[in-house]
Symmetry: none
Subunit: 415 residues, 2 copies
């Protein structure tokens, strides 16, 4: 079954609000085996609403809208869609009564007049219960079984109504005969998109129901495999075969699945091996520590660190050699080794991580261009140092440096 | 002038990625006086891309797309839109050469074969320079002057290309006749939305062309004033009068304008007063240091810090008193004072900042619920300590704690 989404609101169209409802709806519907064919966003203009919903209805016969159900004059969803279905609007006295009751009980006063608008419904509409607000959702259907479901735009109300009322209804309509969409994301870091494409080659070509997407982001490149329109069991099998093939191709380069975050993975690995971490950060300025303490309960692994932004701090707190800094520069192998060893000893951790680099935009040279980062990891006395050339702006270089430092720890501990 | 947006990508349609590009484009275009009529999102399917772009082109004659310009097989934007314009695809050898050069210079190796795809262009296309990646944007226009501009989907590349190349081009086409939209954002932190509303009262009511939006976010509440559809000079005057009125109402609570970030402001203040900063972070785990080193050139102010996640580090590195920790807890006024003083002395800075708190989700108590944060700032020997009750989840509490610490420094230095 295919549906289309139409999200309604000037604030969405003007970009003042980011459309998180659309993403939420899409994920929930996909999980129920329902495919979103297209999504449109229009402003609070009756003509545009009619036009977009009509076009969507012509394509799929099944449309979900969000927004424009509020009490104010710019809320035009109901009358616009009523027009498409050739239905009149009427005041639903029962709903007025419910709202009046709710205002008295919740706010201890009479309902403002303007809220009566929310009880105006197209003839023949089915109300969808709103457990989190006063605007009901609306289900409108014609004699050919084509339908539009109208949900509120406030995310909390929309989500509640979707889960409680609309999804069960749509599932029932979908009669997908067990046909589903399944997808899985494998996460990599430190490997370029085109390198991954070369590693994977044509392993997953020629599977008609499968698609593979390369999704580059600041964490690295995610690989998302999607199986569409297959029987539930077949889809699960295909997904498992496909991800096995990818794991074989990319090997240890895959650090996690779905939305798993690198810090969680590194912390879990350390926890299971009773390792503790301390960090010495120069160019990242605390970012690695901040990321490692983002998950709750990180304190059993992460002890602390030194932000050694100035060379004086590198020397005095971490014991980096002034003559090495003088001779090789602060961004160099000997210095990063001393940082890693120094912070491990200082904090009494089993693993010490040092990062020193040139995040830019200034400070680069021919020999050490912007993006040059040395990462050192002292694993209980054995120090591994790695030179990386990271791309992107200052923020990205810093983020990628922290990500790569964690990746080095992960690879070592999972080897 | 009206344009439509078509954002392309399975990951958008399926809701795995939230469409932040659409919002950014909309805001930038609105600032240039250009109206977005409708926005559509389609998956990586040639038929859907053709259909959606064609419909948009029929309505407005001006379409901007994002996504689907990458090197892999799911990148179908160029050939699909070439089809609409009846153009063939060809390999642009010049662009291949440029990409090969770029790979050698940046990564020190040969460009993977699959990248050649990015140099396939529709005949008659005009390339839009990409300063942040290897896929060029494309401008395709027919003999009637109807055009489609194709931008990459990676936000950084899209934003750069929009600002550098596309906006000037579209502005030139638009010929909006001098009527503009102007807006200005004033930033506040640590003041609730309803408090701001009370401070501002009805000062900006009854200006027909003006709107004031309260935009609460993780940094605090932004106030955005917008003047619409006015002559350029009138708009500038109105905007200036309105922002003066807001500054009067909110006073020292305004820390910056537009997208100015707190760290930049604090660093600039410190720089002009020859102050240097060191940080001692517990619950924020390095986040304050990371934020203070986000702007380039922060090293003249920011010296470094200690991430004192464990109590041992608080005691041994910062000289926090074990008996105070025992008696008052690590989240307490005496401990935060010792952290601020300790790190200032250790790093030889003029300002020492300490943060210790309960970020959650666990660790709260009746007396010290989640969100309880102590912030101490040692200004050259005079210590100011402040107890804050911050709301939100773990990430938000941590971010707000770092933000508030900087706000305390800012208010003190600008008093």
């Amino acid at each position: 079954m295919e549906v289309e989404l139409v999200t309604i609101g000037d604030e969405l169209l003007l970009g003042f609000t980011i459309d998180t409802n659309a993403a939420h709806l899409a994920r929930q519907l996909a999980d129920a085996g329902i495919t979103i064919r297209r999504r449109a966003t229009v402003g609070d203009t009756a003509g545009e609403i009619v036009d977009a919903v009509q076009a969507a209805l012509d394509r799929t016969g099944a449309v979900i809208t969000t927004g424009g159900l509020g009490p104010t004059s710019d809320d035009l969803t109901k009358p616009s869609i009523a027009r498409i279905f050739g239905r009149e609007m009427f005041l639903d006295e029962e709903h007025v009564g419910w709202m009046q009751e709710r205002w008295r009980a919740r706010f201890g006063r009479e309902m403002p007049e303007s809220n009566r608008n929310q009880a105006m419904l197209p003839r023949g509409a089915r109300k969808l219960q709103n457990n989190h607000g006063s605007a009901p959702g609306i289900w409108l259907e014609d004699e050919r079984g084509r339908w539009v479901a109208m949900l509120p735009g406030v995310p909390r109300e929309m989500r509640g109504m979707l889960a409680d009322t609309l999804l069960p209804l749509v599932r029932e309509r979908a009669g997908t005969g067990g046909r589903v969409v399944r997808s899985l994301t494998l996460r990599t870091t430190g490997i370029a998109e085109s390198m991954l494409a070369d590693m994977i080659g044509d392993r997953l070509m020629n599977w008609p129901s499968l698609s593979l997407a390369y999704l580059p982001g600041i964490d690295g490149v995610d690989l998302r495999v999607t199986i569409r329109d297959a029987e539930s069991q077949v889809a699960d099998e295909q997904l498992s075969t496909a991800t096995d093939a990818l794991r074989k191709a990319v090997g240890a380069g895959i650090y996690g699945t779905e939305s798993e975050d690198m810090p969680e993975i590194v912390l879990a690995l350390c926890r299971s091996r009773h390792e503790t971490i301390a960090v010495a950060e120069s160019c990242t300025g605390g970012l690695l520590g901040a990321r490692l303490t983002t998950p709750a309960g990180s304190s059993d692994v992460f002890l602390g660190g030194v932000i050694a932004y100035s060379n004086t701090v590198k020397e005095q707190q971490l014991g980096a050699s002034a003559s090495d800094i003088e001779q090789h520069g602060a961004v160099s192998e000997p210095v990063v080794r001393q940082m890693a060893m120094g912070v491990r000893a200082l904090m009494g951790a089993s693993i010490g991580i040092g990062i020193t680099g040139i995040a830019g935009p200034g400070g680069g040279s021919e020999e050490k261009p912007v993006g040059t980062v040395w990462i050192g990891v002292d694993f209980g006395g054995v120090v591994e140092a790695r030179l990386a050339r990271l791309w992107g702006n200052r923020e990205e270089v810093r983020y990628r440096a922290a990500q790569l430092a964690m990746e080095i720890v992960r690879r070592r501990l999972s080897a």
